[in-house]
Subunit: 419 residues, 2 copies
């Protein structure tokens, strides 16, 4: 039997925008691996009338309700009381839990327990207790009229610990299926083109499913299967991933990798090669993305941010003739920058980026969005020119950095450099 | 009259836990500055039946509904259609918007527009159109039976741009009072210390108010006043900002600036000075943050990402004796890196960062989190050593970059370099 869950987060700080509802994200991600459908997230403040309304709505449309927050000792922590009212259950004081909280105060805080902590030791009659090893408020779960209600604390580290130790085992016992997903990562084709190529296939699928997710510069395709075992799910997913690869071709750069930087990192590591960078319009973004990966020093030697033309000439040795005849945003300059970076760092490969990030065209009239990527290698120098369009500066820089990694990736995998 | 808002985020990726609902957080934070109460967040998947249910519930309990997501070109983007069904409004094709989308494809993507993009040019009859300068899907707003419905796109950068340019002005016009905020930006003091120094004052205030927001590396204090006019609000805020400055002293780096990079940019521009960078553990992050600002070429010449020790020596001229005796993560190395970057770029100032980003201590046993910042200036070379603690790599790199900018800022404003 398939279950439907609603996650209700309780806390005025969420409605004021002080924090994001990362608890709902984390619980959702865990529930999807159990094959439990999460159809709703609701956020409500520390207000018993609106919380009661949320619970009344949720119990009609879901058979698993998971609340976070409102289990603490203060007067506006009212989740348990309100749930008991809605489900007609009495609260029962657990003297052993009260004793533990009192000991915590005396042993750790070195102060007598404030009396309002007593309510943390009161739990719905007949519930399963979820211990809280990293805080004082225990959680709990009960089932009534076919609806399971699970109460977890609000602080993310307490919620996470209790979710893993208690809530997930409780929920796993309700289901006999598991869910497995794989992400096929693509760069170089817009979401609507990907959608057009795969729409018919996606629409006809039910298990496994396939869906597109647009990220700022790339499109991710997630294939998901529900089955009795990991092996069965993998067997259902393998042909889907293969077909996506076949339909989309070289724009697919990997499966279950975080991005193009990680993809290049893996290829470089496997081949025992090192990389250097020479960046103008991306201003260090390519270097930053590669060095954000732990262990980057195994494959990345360093680079130059040649923002001023004098730096392109002085540090990278771009010839004055190229700067005069072609200008700093040109194919010859991109090639010379990459060659210079390769020479001075001694790296096997060096990638360069020069372009116009805006807001104005450059002094020679090259329009905003034109970007040249150079790649110096033992097999010669390659170049890609792209028109990234007149976008917001940060988007243009991000897209240019992705093109730089895509050029490296295509060289390392023997694909044509041009898109 | 006071308004009540509900934010409805549409997207199966939220229910699968692939992303957190940061849009709801950002909208909530903005609405609270307008004095609009947000009482509910709801998340629903790309499913018209459940979206219809969410809208039916929301229109009964709120008079401002803000949706995010589901405005894109694919077949599961159904927000506009479903809202029109619930509110009984027809969709109208806007030929001028269709033309713009078509031009975007031809001019930027260099491909004919896929036909499924047509639905992005269809909007509810009689709505106010919100242009989308960073994407193709426009948003919109209409009022019906006293309920205002605003539709914003799902990708966070598109949502944010449209919120600031269109949705907030639309909502501001619904109220006769205006709300003005100023953000006092601080670096170098933890949130609980800031809170301790200002707690009594904050608790005693009602209009204007003062609240702290902890960001990953800094604390922002937001002073907010509600008044009949801009002038009246400004008059209420000025003494609050002054008092915060007086209490916190030199950890305050500016008011209403986006971050330390922008603060340094402004000081350099005013003084007519240029900057260079030499980065090891931050791997280009300092350069990237400064070049993310439009007009960066006026104050930033360029820099080196000296990830390998050979690059520190070869490109920056760090003496072999320093690398042997003190190692690459040391005060002498930080000083030599800054001097080298200043010399080879000809910049007035050069800032360097060398440290251990982890996950392992360096080969000389310097522990994860130790970072040296060097600053070469016409007045000599300065250095700050910080222990950023054993944090996640990205947090450590971000904090180290902020220290680099803070050293530059303190030099330019005549403050002591040491914290």
């Amino acid at each position: 039997m398939s279950h439907t869950a609603e996650i209700i987060a309780v806390g005025t700080e969420l409605l004021l925008g002080n924090i994001a509802n990362t608890n709902a994200q984390e619980i959702s991600e865990s529930l999807s691996t159990l094959g439990i459908n999460v159809f709703w997230h609701t956020v409500v403040g520390d207000n018993p009338i609106r919380l009661k309304e949320a619970l009344d709505i949720a119990r009609r449309r879901a058979d698993i309700l998971i609340t976070t927050g409102g289990l603490g000792p203060t007067y506006d922590d009212l989740t348990k009381q309100t749930i008991c009212e809605v489900f007609g259950k009495p609260l029962v004081l657990h003297r052993d839990i009260l004793e533990e909280i009192r000991e915590f105060y005396e042993g750790t805080v070195h102060a007598p327990m404030p009396e309002n902590n007593t309510q943390q030791a009161e739990l719905p009659a007949g519930c399963v207790i979820f211990e809280n090893p990293v805080g004082t408020a225990p959680g709990c779960a009960f089932e009534q009229d076919g609806v399971h209600v699970l109460m977890l604390p609000g602080p993310p580290h307490e919620m996470r610990t209790m979710l893993r130790r208690h809530a997930l085992p409780y929920l796993r016992a309700l289901s006999s299926e598991i869910i497995v997903s794989h992400d096929v990562m693509t760069f170089g084709m817009g979401e609507s083109f990907v959608d057009q190529l795969l729409h018919q296939k996606m629409a006809a699928m039910s298990n496994p499913t396939l869906a597109t997710y647009a990220k700022p510069f790339e499109v991710r395709l997630r294939a998901t299967a529900k089955a009795r075992s990991q092996e069965a799910a993998e067997a259902m997913l393998a042909p889907v991933v293969e077909e996506v690869r076949a339909v989309l071709g070289p724009v697919v750069y990997g499966v279950d990798v975080s991005g193009l930087a990680e993809c290049c990192f893996a290829h470089l590591l496997r081949r025992g090669l090192t990389l250097a960078t020479a960046e103008s319009c991306t201003g260090g973004l390519v270097a930053e993305q590669i060095t954000a990966l732990p262990g980057a020093s195994k494959i990345y030697r360093g680079g130059v941010v040649s923002y001023w033309t004098s730096v392109k000439q002085g540090m990278l040795g771009v010839p004055q003739e190229i700067l005069d005849a072609d200008g700093p945003v040109s194919e010859p300059c991109a090639r010379a920058m990459a060659e210079g970076a390769r020479r001075i760092t001694g790296a096997d490969l060096a990638v360069s980026v020069t372009g116009v990030a805006g807001p104005e065209p450059d002094e020679r009239g090259v329009p905003v969005g034109i970007v040249y990527i150079g790649l110096a290698t033992p097999d010669g120098v390659f170049c890609r020119c792209v028109d990234t369009g007149k976008r917001q500066r940060s988007l243009l820089q991000g897209l240019a950095a992705n093109h730089a990694f895509d050029v490296v990736r295509r060289y390392l995998t023997g694909l044509p450099i041009k898109l």
